[in-house]
Subunit: 114 residues, 2 copies
């Protein structure tokens, strides 16, 4: 439990809010974190019982935030698909720390103006 | 307005929560901030229409947090009273910054454990 200005936060909330994740995004994030290997969007949709379009939107967001990496897998008949995998935990940690420290920085800026 | 983990805070809330101030404590704090000179507890009680005991409790808390300074005023008949004055604004600012940075530190510690 984390205290900030008389409110209490779970670390999960902090993660969710740092990255602006919906419940679905976060479920996918947690799934990838638990299963540290590559998945296609179809596999993710099956495993999580999510619509493919939900999964596609979620992995895109997670990829944009650099907490998920992707690799291009070429198909035998031509074309390719992406496979997704959770990023290195230290990398994720450092992304989150940067966001939290920018929150703290805002308070500091406000206090300087005060 | 300050964002932290999807919640929004006014700077006043941050100040109040940093120092664990009640509404009365904060009113007194603001009063002293606006009137940058010394007051006896009786004068404060009169000005704010607070019970003397409320004022005494509040100034003690503010003094303990070092956001208020006090000076001893000797009475002609013997004995003394304290007069209270807001601390230097930079001093208050630095106290608040330390508290906020310790909140951010907690999140960092939690993330390191994560």
């Amino acid at each position: 439990m984390i205290d900030f200005a008389c409110k209490q936060f779970m670390l999960d909330d902090v993660i969710k809010c740092s990255l602006g994740l919906t419940r679905a995004d976060f479920a996918l994030f947690e799934f990838l974190l638990e299963h540290n290997r590559e998945f296609s969007t179809t596999q993710l949709a099956d495993s999580l019982k999510f619509d493919l379009s939900t999964v596609q939107r979620s992995v895109k967001k997670l990829f944009d935030h650099e907490v998920v990496i992707r690799s291009q897998v070429n198909l035998t008949g031509g074309g390719y698909v992406y496979h997704y995998k959770i990023a290195d935990r230290n990398k994720i940690r450092s992304i989150l720390k940067n966001i939290v420290s920018s929150w703290a920085k805002t308070v500091e800026t406000e206090l300087n103006r005060w």
